[in-house]
């Protein structure tokens, strides 16, 4: 089982890492982080915070783009190009195929995160604004967020086209960051229908706001380690659930 899953993951990693889309996105991310040098004089004494905030936001944004753009077509492309016929005619179970594709894409995201973070620290050192290791916590939380988002992208990829899948995944991403507002709306709305719908979406959609600790690390606000641990656990459970649903859909699918 491990051999097959890791084989598919390695194949997905190789395919994606050699794709021009990925390289372009990483280059753009580094350029955006580097652009901090240009806006630095406008920061009025807050240079260090703005450079760090911009860098961490660029890392998150571009990794989210990679997750959605590459993840959204990851299974669909296999069906479209019929490479899935060859994969599934081997002694590979369908859930192994989904897990392998997911892990391959996550490996790509980990490598992208490492490259972007290394570039980010290099820029911080060049600009001389300080490069505390606590910033890595924000990157780690981005990885937890990407784990969920990639599982959402893979789920949509099992039954929709890449464009539809990307739109839906973007929608989940934005709604996931607004889930606290959904809870607020549910509490304040007088309409029972709006209340019920708001609660439904609040509990159904991933609470991605939990993973945004960028303001805390940039402004040096102390973090609660148990909250971070809980977020990691939440990411693991949510991701596993989504992958199980994806595998169930793939299992019922006729090619």
């Amino acid at each position: 089982m491990i051999e097959r899953v890791s084989g598919i993951a390695l194949n997905t990693f190789r395919e994606s890492i050699r794709d021009k889309v990925l390289v372009t996105l990483i280059v753009f991310a580094v350029l955006v982080m580097g652009s901090a040098r240009v806006i630095q004089p406008l920061a009025l004494g807050e240079e260090a915070k703005i450079v760090k905030d911009l860098g961490l936001s660029a890392i998150t944004l571009f990794c989210v783009l990679i997750s959605i753009l590459v993840g959204g077509r990851i299974v669909y492309r296999e069906v479209e190009k019929r490479t899935i016929y060859i994969m599934l005619a081997k002694p590979v179970r369908r859930w192994e195929f989904i897990l392998g594709k997911y892990l391959g894409l996550m490996s790509v995201l980990v490598v992208s995160l490492v490259v972007m973070t290394a570039a980010f620290y290099l820029i911080l050192l060049i600009l001389g604004v300080g490069a505390p290791l606590s910033l890595l916590l924000a990157v780690l939380m981005t990885l937890f967020e990407l784990a969920i988002l990639t599982a959402v992208a893979v789920l949509f990829s099992t039954f929709s086209t890449p464009i539809t899948g990307a739109v839906f995944t973007f929608a989940v991403y934005f709604a996931g960051h607004l889930s606290r507002d959904l809870k607020l709306l549910a509490a304040m709305s007088p309409s029972p229908v709006v209340k019920a719908a708001s609660y439904l979406f609040y509990y159904l959609l991933p609470n991605l706001g939990n993973f945004n600790i960028r303001p805390e690390v940039v402004y040096g606000v102390p973090l609660d380690p148990s909250a971070l641990l809980l977020s990691g656990l939440y990411s693991l459970v949510y991701t596993a659930t989504l992958l199980l649903i994806s595998a169930a859909i793939c299992n019922r699918k006729e090619f």
Partner: protein, 317 residues
């Protein structure tokens, strides 16, 4: 062949209905198909485009489920990993991963098929050599021609040395040399005791290498059997070619022939049987100055048989 307890492939009364479009229109792809393929056989699955060949192969590969009936591979359901571990599959017009090299892709195929790590590299190199792909071994496949992709498809199907090889239109995209090499590979596989099930519409290849054939037309199996049983050795007609024919002689010869075609100074006559050949020869002797340059008995070919079935199905529908 008989030492194997059960057929390698066993299809019993399989039907497949697809639903397509918003109105879920019913499309009957296969109707009541039954066949068995024994160990060590080369089985040719014939049919025109859209006859349902690929649908049955997809059922055998576990990619789709039959609406009714049952399909077994090595006595197990097609989706069973134990059954899939013993087969190699080449889909129609295969397409692979653009950014992988030939060696990487075959390595993946070997790994997924359960080839031990210690043997994988040797198997991959062996397949690359067999399919004459050594020079392209470390090139990414996005630049490969149709023929090279077809070779890669065959290589990945054979890399784990499977007992059963299922090939969907394997001759597509191959030039005459490639087709000859491919036929040699199939014959070699049979000599090593492998079972081969392949679909095609190139009848000459089937006649050359298949032990048995199944003919499917419009989703129905119209014939399954040995080629020697399907194609009788009875002479269907005889072609007589004569030279130096004049107008009056030509009319006399045409009267005893089913068909006469004049080409230059030669006349090609198609006659029913040996008695008619004697009549033609008698006319030639009588008229003088005519030379008989060829007498060729014409036995029914698979193509004749196939076309007759297609025409019959067309009339019926």
């Amino acid at each position: 062949m008989s030492s194997y307890p059960e057929p390698v492939i066993s299809v019993t009364r399989v039907s497949k209905v697809y639903r397509s479009g918003l109105r879920m229109k019913r499309v009957q792809a296969l109707t009541d198909i039954s066949l068995e393929v024994e160990r060590g056989e080369i089985f040719g699955f014939l049919g025109p485009n859209g006859a349902g060949k690929t649908t049955l192969i997809k059922i055998l590969m576990g990619l789709t489920e039959p609406t009714s009936g049952s399909a077994l591979v090595f006595g197990r359901p097609p989706r069973d990993a134990a059954a899939k571990a013993r087969l190699g599959f080449l889909p129609e017009s295969p397409y692979f991963y653009d950014h992988l090299t030939a060696r990487e892709f075959l390595g993946l195929a070997a790994r997924l098929s359960g080839v031990p790590k210690s043997e994988a590299a040797g198997r991959v190199t062996g397949q690359l050599r067999l399919l004459r792909m050594e020079k392209a071994a470390d090139v990414q496949m996005r630049g490969f021609s149709r023929g090279m992709l077809q070779r890669m498809g065959i290589a990945q199907a054979l890399v784990a040395d499977p007992e059963l090889v299922v090939l969907d239109e394997p001759m597509g995209g191959l030039d005459p040399i490639g087709r000859k090499e491919f036929r040699d590979i199939i014959v070699d596989l049979r000599e090593r005791g492998k079972t081969i099930f392949f679909s095609t519409h190139i009848l000459s290849d089937v006649e050359m290498i298949c032990d048995r054939v199944g003919i499917v037309i419009e989703g129905r199996m119209v014939e399954v059997g040995r080629l020697s049983e399907i194609l009788t050795s009875d002479v269907e007609s005889i072609e007589v070619t004569v030279k130096g024919v004049t107008g009056k002689t030509q009319k006399a010869l045409e009267r005893v022939s089913q068909k006469a075609i004049k080409s230059g100074d030669q006349l090609l006559l198609t006659v029913r049987n040996e008695d008619d050949v004697d009549r033609v020869l008698a006319i030639c002797r009588e008229m003088g100055g005519i030379r008989v340059v060829g007498i060729d008995p014409h036995c029914p070919t698979l193509e004749d048989y196939f076309m007759a079935h297609v025409a019959k199905a067309g009339r019926a529908s």
